[in-house]
């Protein structure tokens, strides 16, 4: 699947969309959008009145043409939005081509088509095989190329047990051999759901969209009343309002702008998410993302880069920092953990001590075990050990050595500062403390500050002790933290926040995250995670980047903002349209009403036509905005409201005055009215 940003107007999308606009004229589809349905009925009525009218053919023909355009433009907007999704679906489909699977039955292998696989079947995949369906690795380890789903070319490791056991149908095994238990039903694989999602096939209206549709329908009903009652008012006043003119008034008043763009906004919101490699299981989840006000973030990988790094050497009394560094490096040479490597690197950086040859003939490396909880080296009669403070303390005291007070103090100070102290000792002599530190990701603090401005509370989840957690929390600038958190704690915390009325989002990848992912209002599962986690969440991040949660929230907010802004704009437009149409309707009988024609429109017919044309063209003009979403800046609700009210509220009042006048000048010059 290509993740290059598709240009907004790509001929391969636009041309089919024109056809789509006509197909969508089907009344059975139109009736789902009451605003545009009323417009369609208006267009039909006006077209019919061409044949019954006795005068003004040119005017009525033009009017009905523009009314049809209004409907078609709205359909076109929806078709373009869908077309963008379809383009992505097509590339996904290529990955779904039917493959042969090697089904394992009673340890006998047989070749069956992938489509014949049942949930619970076991299949074997070796290097070069395409994984036939979603499943869980139950045996072996393999590197898998998931580019067809994620667009990421680097292969990922999938292995049985643990949190990286889920594999996706359509991805390819590059090395080794795995046995996979199929977990998806036929036709309901991750890929199938993804295709359905981007195509909008299963698109259901979100709660917010439903509420907005009710508002727009009710307004349409009110304006229908306003227009229909105008007929008897006209009879009383001695004016005969013709059907085309009343239809023109009605169509201009009902919120066609937002009505026409509403579904395009919704589709493109999901589309934006997919472009960032996030799959949502429903539009509802995208919308909920905008409402999130509490983010639960795992410390590791989200706030800090994966591992702790050695940051300081704190020698004991009578020991130089150089000696400590040298001993620490020796003890870590065989330690392949990132922490061990970082000690080697730090010693090299600080004192230029080179990493010595590991294959020293007399070096005996002592690996870390759960019993001793330390590691080290025996070299030339020296016995160097490093380990956690409490285990080292008992090690030293067991050998008859003393555990110096200043070291104990240094250990405590390090813990308080959020660092992990490691004691280095030679024989029974304590050399000092190496401090390991969590490295907070660059720029994360600014991001949290932005979130705070948006009114979102960030909570860091970590297995660290409270002291360490507090220090990292302070450094990263999160609002709150949960130390020594178990998955059950997470679930409890989410429930507690929700009970207070908050909406909570979190990321997770392990099976034990699944309950919390399911409980959260927005649960983003990592694609590298287990199948259970991916099923429990309502979004999957294909890049497995926990920081993505922040972008997801922003996309959700932008979606809602776009709807609100265009609704406000659409309603505010009506003022200018009234000033164009009402004087035009009354002018013939009451010429004194002329001062109300504030735009100085040339004639009643040109005024009505201009308003209708503006009403149609504004839909086309706003398609890019509907698809891209309104500009989103992280700021407080009050500031956002202020800005958007000015732009879309006041702008919505003023723009049509200019637009209608310009169209009037144009059509008058062209002698169209």
């Amino acid at each position: 699947m290509s993740h290059k940003p598709t240009p907004l107007f790509d001929a391969s999308i636009l041309v089919p969309a024109i056809g789509g606009a006509f197909q969508k004229l089907d009344p059975r589809l139109m009736v789902k959008n009451p605003v545009m349905f009323v417009t369609l009925v208006g267009a039909v009525l006006t077209t019919v009145s061409i044949f019954t009218a006795r005068t003004d053919y040119g005017f009525i023909i033009q009017l009905s043409l523009w009314l049809w355009f209004t409907v078609l433009f709205a359909n076109f907007a929806e078709a373009v939005a869908e077309g963008r999704g379809k383009a992505q679906a097509d590339s996904l489909r290529k990955a779904r081509k039917d493959t042969m699977a090697r089904r394992l039955h009673n340890s006998a292998e047989s070749s069956v088509p992938a489509s014949a696989l049942e949930k619970g079947d076991l299949v074997v995949c070796e290097a070069g095989d395409v994984i036939p369906a979603d499943g869980e690795v139950i045996e072996g380890i393999a590197s898998v190329d998931e580019a067809s789903i994620t667009g990421e070319s680097a292969p990922v490791i999938r292995e049985s047990g643990g949190d990286r056991s889920a594999v996706t149908g359509g991805t390819r095994v590059i090395s080794d051999r795995i046995v996979v238990r199929i977990t998806s039903e036929k036709g309901n694989t991750f890929l199938d759901r993804m295709i359905a999602m981007v195509e909008g096939a299963k698109r259901q209206k979100t709660p917010n969209e439903i509420a907005l549709t009710i508002l727009l329908s009710a307004m349409t009903l009110i304006f229908l009343l306003v227009t229909i009652t105008l007929k008897p008012f006209g009879i009383y006043s001695g004016i005969t309002f013709s059907t085309p003119v009343l239809v023109a008034l009605l169509v201009c008043l009902i919120p066609t702008t937002i009505g026409g763009l509403l579904s395009a906004i919704g589709i493109s919101g999901i589309d934006r998410l997919i472009r960032r490699n996030v799959m949502a299981t429903s539009g509802r989840a995208v919308e909920a993302a905008g409402d999130i006000d509490v983010l639960l973030l795992d410390k590791t990988g989200t706030i800090t880069i994966g591992n702790r790094m050695a940051s300081d050497f704190r020698p004991a009394n009578g020991v130089t920092e150089h000696q400590l560094a040298d001993a620490a490096q020796l003890a870590s040479l065989a330690d392949e953990t990132p922490e061990g490597r970082s000690i080697v690197v730090l010693a090299k950086e600080k004192f230029n001590i080179r990493g010595r040859e590991l294959a020293h003939p007399h070096a005996i490396f002592v690996p870390f075990t759960a019993q001793t909880r330390m590691s080290g080296v025996d070299l030339d009669g020296r016995s160097i050990r490093k380990g956690a403070a409490d285990s080292m303390k008992s090690h030293i005291e067991g050998q008859g050595g003393t555990y110096p007070a200043e070291v104990a103090k240094a250990v405590e100070a390090a813990s308080r500062a959020g660092r992990t102290p490691l004691i280095v000792a030679e024989g029974c002599k304590v050399l000092g403390v190496v401090e390991l530190k969590d490295v907070v990701k660059g720029g994360i603090k600014d991001r949290f500050a932005r979130l705070r401005k948006m009114g979102i509370k960030t909570v860091m989840i970590t297995g660290d002790n409270p002291m360490t957690a507090a220090a990292i929390a302070a450094e990263a600038g999160v609002d709150d933290f949960m130390a020594q958190a178990t998955p059950e704690d997470k679930l409890q915390r989410i429930r507690a926040e929700q009970a207070e009325g908050h909406l909570v989002a979190m990321t997770g990848d392990g099976t034990n995250d699944a309950p919390a992912l399911a409980q959260a209002d927005v649960g983003v599962a990592m694609n590298t995670g287990t199948q259970a986690a991916r099923e429990a969440g309502n979004m999957v991040d294909l890049d497995s980047n926990p920081t993505k949660l922040i972008e997801i929230v922003e996309i959700g907010k932008q979606l809602l903002m776009t709807r609100g802004s265009l609704t406000t704009f659409s309603i505010a437009n009506d003022i200018a349209k009234y000033f164009a149409i009402i004087p035009a309707m009354l002018m013939a009988t009451f010429p004194v009403i002329a001062p109300l024609n504030v735009m100085g429109l040339a004639s009643p017919q040109s005024a009505i036509l201009s308003a209708v044309i503006f009403n149609a063209l504004i839909i086309i003009a706003l398609i890019p905005l509907a698809l891209k979403g309104v500009t989103y800046k992280p700021m407080g609700a009050a500031a956002v409201l202020h800005r958007n009210l000015l732009v879309y509220g006041l702008g919505g009042v003023l723009v049509p005055f200019v637009g209608i006048k310009a169209i009037d000048v144009l059509i008058t010059t062209l002698h169209l009215a």
Partner: protein, 603 residues
């Protein structure tokens, strides 16, 4: 407007501002069944006795359906009671003039009118209803319809504010009679209708009315049971001067935004509104409770800034309306009432117009400003008392009261009705603009979703449909047009005004419309019923829906419902929705009339 007019206006606004907080605080006590007031020693026994007689437990909380049903049942009983009195008044006491019973359609119209807090009068008070009917049949409703309105507003506010009531429900199989603690049920309740009704009447309306009545008597208002006085005028003609128990009825007419006059001339009558001072305090009484309720709102939702923001939106609309009306009535525009041979200098008529303004249909003791302000006040609220003929206002001067009613009388508005009407607009404003901050719209932490939007729009739709629908019907029907005194756009304004007034439960008349006909009485009666109850039911459903919602705690991402931006947004929403719905009709009525008048066309 003269300097003295501005001074009077400033005094009025100042006084209204000053009483808002104390009244709001007092309302907080009155609307809490456990609240304490300084009148408790006197009124508490009476209150308890009333509950005992009604057989209600004031502490028993009701959900929205129970509350609404209680209110509807009470209203139905009231309307039957009054209908009976009006029909039978000929045989009832306190009828020194021997006035006969009312026709069935007038009795229906009048009973509905007073029960719905409208007080539309298709009749002239002194020539149609007896003292007994006034005191028992009508004044009763003046108190209770006002108290019910306040109760509905309070119920909505309770629903919005985050309060839950825990109910201990007795388990049906707990034979020992002890409440089963596992059956603790959370119900979303809105208060108790009977407690609200009784407490508002006893603690709020009655005491203020007693003091106000004494003040009005000091200004020259009458209070007696005498037969009408026959006098000889200086010219020797015979005149009948109506009498009656007026001071006991007028305070509640204003305070409860009822507006039904004791006399046909309403507050233009020298007995009913004797002095400029009585005029001032009557206007203040109209807006007092509505204004105080905004403070009550702020207190209840624990966001006083929100209460003041709603109040500010109301006040800005009010000041704008009052100044517009007064400006056009003061006649500072020069009207070209030029004779056919328009070659002469401006006529003396034109000069007089510029100096004194439009005095037609106005009392000299109030002047153009006292009349325009009264007209604005009475239609901003759903009062409907008048001290001048709105029919004789200039087209734009008359458009102001008409438009205020069409906005739903949310500019301070009727007691209770104004607040709940405004809160419907708040819900819509928050919904439309709330999306713009990138969250599901929340009003004070409670999400506005499909159900709330449906209910809010329903109440708006009902208002528009009733006003436009009935007017459209009337203006193409013989029964509608025959009642008109004036032709052309002014005639349309008269019909539009009648249905706007009744649907809005205002009750003021544009005059010029002979409404005491079976058709008008019946359609206007239905407009009143629709305007009251088809508004209240969705509003109460809204209250119930809000009550059941969990409130999200406020944060920087929360939609702000206070401050200038919100106030402007609210004003914009009210004006936009009002203007969009009624502009075409208004264009054919007062607006076209205004331009025609500029060319010398009169109707």
């Amino acid at each position: 407007m003269h300097a003295t007019d501005w001074l009077q206006f400033a005094l009025f606004l100042g006084a209204l501002t000053l009483i808002t907080k104390p009244l709001g605080l007092y309302l907080l006590q009155v609307l809490d069944p456990a609240g304490r007031t300084w009148l408790d020693p006197v009124l508490k026994p009476l209150e308890k006795l009333t509950y005992k007689l009604l057989g209600v437990d004031p502490r028993r909380e009701q959900d929205w359906k129970q509350y609404t049903c209680a209110m509807l049942a009470f209203s139905l009983a009231g309307v039957v009671f009054t209908y009976a009195i009006l029909r039978l008044q000929g045989v009832l006491p306190f009828n020194p003039q021997g006035l006969p019973g009312l026709s069935h359609h007038l009795a229906f119209n009048t009973a509905v009118s007073f029960m719905t807090n409208t007080n539309w009068q298709s009749y002239g008070g002194e020539s149609t209803v007896s003292y007994f009917s006034q005191m028992v049949g009508l004044t009763f409703h003046n108190f209770t319809s006002a108290a019910a309105g306040i109760g509905i507003a309070a119920a909505l506010v309770r629903g919005i504010s985050n309060r839950k009531t825990n109910f201990q429900v007795r388990s049906p199989n707990a034979h020992d009679g002890s409440p089963n603690p596992t059956n603790l049920e959370v119900r979303f309740t809105l208060g108790n209708f009977w407690a609200d009704l009784v407490r508002c009447t006893y603690y709020l309306l009655l005491p203020i009315c007693v003091v106000f009545a004494i003040f009005l008597v000091s200004q020259g208002m009458i209070q007696n049971f005498d037969p009408y006085t026959k006098v000889k005028t200086l010219e020797g003609a015979e005149q009948v001067i109506a009498q009656g128990p007026m001071a006991s009825q007028i305070p509640i007419k204003m305070l409860g935004t009822n507006g039904g006059g004791f006399m046909n001339a309403n507050a233009a009558h020298p007995f009913e509104n004797p002095t400029p001072l009585s005029n001032f305090f009557q206007m203040l009484a109209i807006l007092a409770i509505g204004s105080g309720l905004t403070y009550y709102l702020g207190r209840m939702v624990k966001n006083q800034a929100h209460g003041w923001a709603v109040w500010a939106a109301m006040m800005v609309l009010f000041v704008g309306a009052a100044v517009t009306c007064a400006h056009f009535e003061a006649g500072e525009r020069v009207f070209q009432l030029v004779p056919e041979t328009a070659t002469t200098e401006p006529t003396s008529l034109e000069t007089r117009f510029t100096l004194d303004g439009n005095m037609e249909g106005k009392e000299t003791r109030f002047g153009t400003f006292g009349s325009s302000l009264f007209a604005t006040v009475t239609t901003a609220a759903s009062c409907g008392a008048v001290n001048a003929m709105h029919d004789s206002f200039t087209p734009i001067g008359g458009l102001v009261p008409l438009f205020l009613m069409q906005l739903g009388e949310v500019v301070i508005g009727g007691v209770g009705a104004g607040l709940y009407g405004m809160l419907v607009f708040v819900v819509l404003a928050v919904f439309i603009a709330g999306l713009m901050v990138g969250r599901t719209p929340e009003y004070l932490g409670k999400k506005i979703q499909a159900k709330e939007v449906k209910l809010a729009m329903l109440s708006l739709l009902v208002l528009t449909a009733s006003i436009l629908g009935f007017t459209a019907w009337a203006c193409v029907s013989d029964w509608g047009v025959v009642g008109l005194n004036n032709a052309g756009p002014h005639g349309l304004s008269e019909m539009l005004y009648a249905y706007s007034s009744t649907t809005g439960n205002n009750g003021s008349a544009f005059a010029g419309l002979t409404a005491n006909t079976p058709w008008y009485n019946t359609t206007l009666g239905f407009a009143m019923l629709i305007g009251r109850f088809l508004m209240i039911v969705p509003v109460m459903a809204l209250a119930g829906s809000f009550a059941a919602k969990q409130a999200a705690p406020a944060g920087p991402g929360t939609f702000p419902v206070h401050g200038a931006t919100f106030t402007i947004l609210l004003i914009g929403t009210v004006l936009l929705i009002g203007a969009l719905n009624f502009l075409p009709a208004l264009a054919l009525g007062p607006i076209v009339e205004h331009f025609l008048m500029g060319k010398g066309g009169l109707f």
